[in-house]
Symmetry: C2
Subunit: 337 residues, 2 copies
């Protein structure tokens, strides 16, 4: 085991779009696990759009990080030392840990990962927070049923790619917005979406949507917001459900962007627009993960990962989320098991 | 009974704000009731903001009127002739009838009004469509409970004034936006609202709201939309409910207005924003009307009416809705009973 530990800390709050100067890689001593804690060696680190929010000082559902704090996120790692935590050395675990090569955590903050069940990285993707977000957002909020048209933005991402497949399992017609022809091919050819729209290849989102969803939109899973969402709202059918999961197009805005007012569409369609956080469904995580695991095992749900190598690649992996560089779940592999 | 009948017809589609040229008063023969129909003499005619929508050709939840069509709306009138309809001469009835001194309607399209129960004009207000809209929008969509803060726009209008009182009955703190000091006094002194905000006397709706609703907003009943709604969305508490009932600030817009994007507020608060139409609750109208009638009889719900005289005052009464000239329900008295 190395003597030194590399940790990413918040160097300064970003104004608008973060860049490499937002992050500082600090060389530190490997921490000692306190009583009831485990020392975990990071194998995979997750980067997620919601982290942008914690870099700012404003109010949000997540507490902001202080400048100088270690960044935190989903990690899959290996227990290298247990000081009365309920794990053995060599156990694979997942939890919300520092962006670091080594981190300590109390036993109850860690969950065992079974490497026999699925590749361990899936605990950060299809069988982790993004998969659960897709599961509850689709099944509990957007609620597509057979014959419905379901639209998802960020469709080739970690959440959107699963959401669309779950809507297909419910019998819906599924249309996804994504940012390249390669992603559209992934949606249509690999995931079984009925149609993908490359939003970077059209200025007229509404016309593209009218073609791909000629019967209007019954359920909308929004990860992106902005002009694509404006177009979707014009196509909402009576009693449509909109699940507001993310608004990645807004996260780097310094001032609140403006757009067409949409409540008249909500009124005319009697739509329900609902923001949700996956954490609100925590009591049901275990059952949902088991269900997702079955679908992955049976091939009914596919997933893809984009993996960068080395902890020093984490800032670029995070920044790439806002450029749409990933297909499926974006991960950083920090060490081999 | 007069031989001639005066009927308002749609003279032309308004561009932007309607004016008197939108309406044409036509002198016609009094119609003959067909088999199963009644001839009704109009006593009170209701003017409502939703009618603006039917004057335009665009898609909405209500079919647009054709140019030359008689305008239609809620009427309370007296049956002067029954041709096999299930009413007697002299019965007071209400229904969706033409803006006319006399109109025919099939028996099933008319509902008996009991003049002993309450003034007959209330069948168009607190005990009619506006009262029912307030009832279902408050109790089924915005759902304020004890200790919640409930905010309503158009608070001194036919719907808002009832909505706020129903929220008070649920034990909520009630804040209303209205457009004059007289209306604010009506809210606070006559209806028991906790606070009224005269939006015409402030530019900073958000600051006014922070003062009137220091604990944030749990339930919002929106009749107006636009910049006031923008301010309310910044103050939504976790799991807030927004009932989108009307957007009167938008109805005369020729192009869809823009405003700050609000879905990030929906996401951060996990709010639910729901458009609704009172007609969706039709199976429950009878029970709800009975409940409203009890509250009116006991004085727990107060109401006010603004009444203009003569059918020729109907266009101005309608146009005045968009200027906020009414307090409570705006009615046109067409004839004495």
């Amino acid at each position: 085991m190395s003597d030194t530990n590399r940790v990413y800390r918040l160097a300064k709050r970003p104004e608008g779009t973060p860049d490499r100067d937002t992050f500082e890689l600090s060389e530190e001593a490997v921490p000692e696990p306190g009583p009831g804690e485990a020392l975990v060696k990071t194998l995979y680190l997750s980067v997620d759009p919601y982290m942008r929010d914690r870099m700012s000082a404003g109010e949000s559902y997540a507490d902001p990080w202080a400048v100088g704090d270690a960044l935190r996120g989903g990690v899959v790692g290996e227990v290298v030392e247990s000081n009365g935590a309920r794990f053995d050395e060599g156990d694979v675990v997942t939890g919300d840990l520092e962006w670091a090569e080594y981190a300590t955590a109390p036993g109850p903050a860690l969950t065992q990962v079974d490497p026999e069940l699925a590749p361990i990285s899936t605990a950060l993707g299809v069988l982790g927070m993004p998969g659960l977000t897709a599961y509850f957002g689709t099944r509990e909020v957007a609620r597509p049923s057979a014959g419905d048209t379901f639209v998802v933005t960020g469709a080739a991402g970690a959440v959107g790619s699963v959401a669309g497949q779950l809507a297909k399992l419910q019998g819906a017609r599924v249309v996804g917005f994504a940012g390249s022809d390669e992603k559209v091919a992934f949606l249509e050819d690999d995931l079984g979406f009925d149609a993908g729209i490359n939003y970077k290849a059209t200025d007229d989102y509404r016309a593209a949507l009218e073609e791909a969803a000629p019967d209007g939109v019954d359920a909308y899973f929004d990860n992106v917001g902005g002009p694509i969402t404006d177009a979707v709202f014009t196509q909402l059918n009576t009693d449509a459900r909109v699940a507001v999961c993310g608004q990645i197009s807004m996260y780097n805005a310094e001032e609140l962007p403006t757009g067409p007012r949409k409540l008249t569409h909500v009124l005319q369609s009697r739509a329900t627009v609902e923001g949700f956080l996956v954490s609100d469904f925590e009591p049901r995580f275990e059952d949902a993960t088991a269900q997702l695991g079955q679908w992955v095992a049976s091939g009914e749900v596919s997933y893809r990962e984009t993996v960068t190598e080395g902890i020093e690649s984490a800032p670029d992996a995070f920044l790439g989320l806002f450029e749409g560089e990933n297909i499926g779940k974006q991960l950083v592999q920090v060490a081999e098991r």
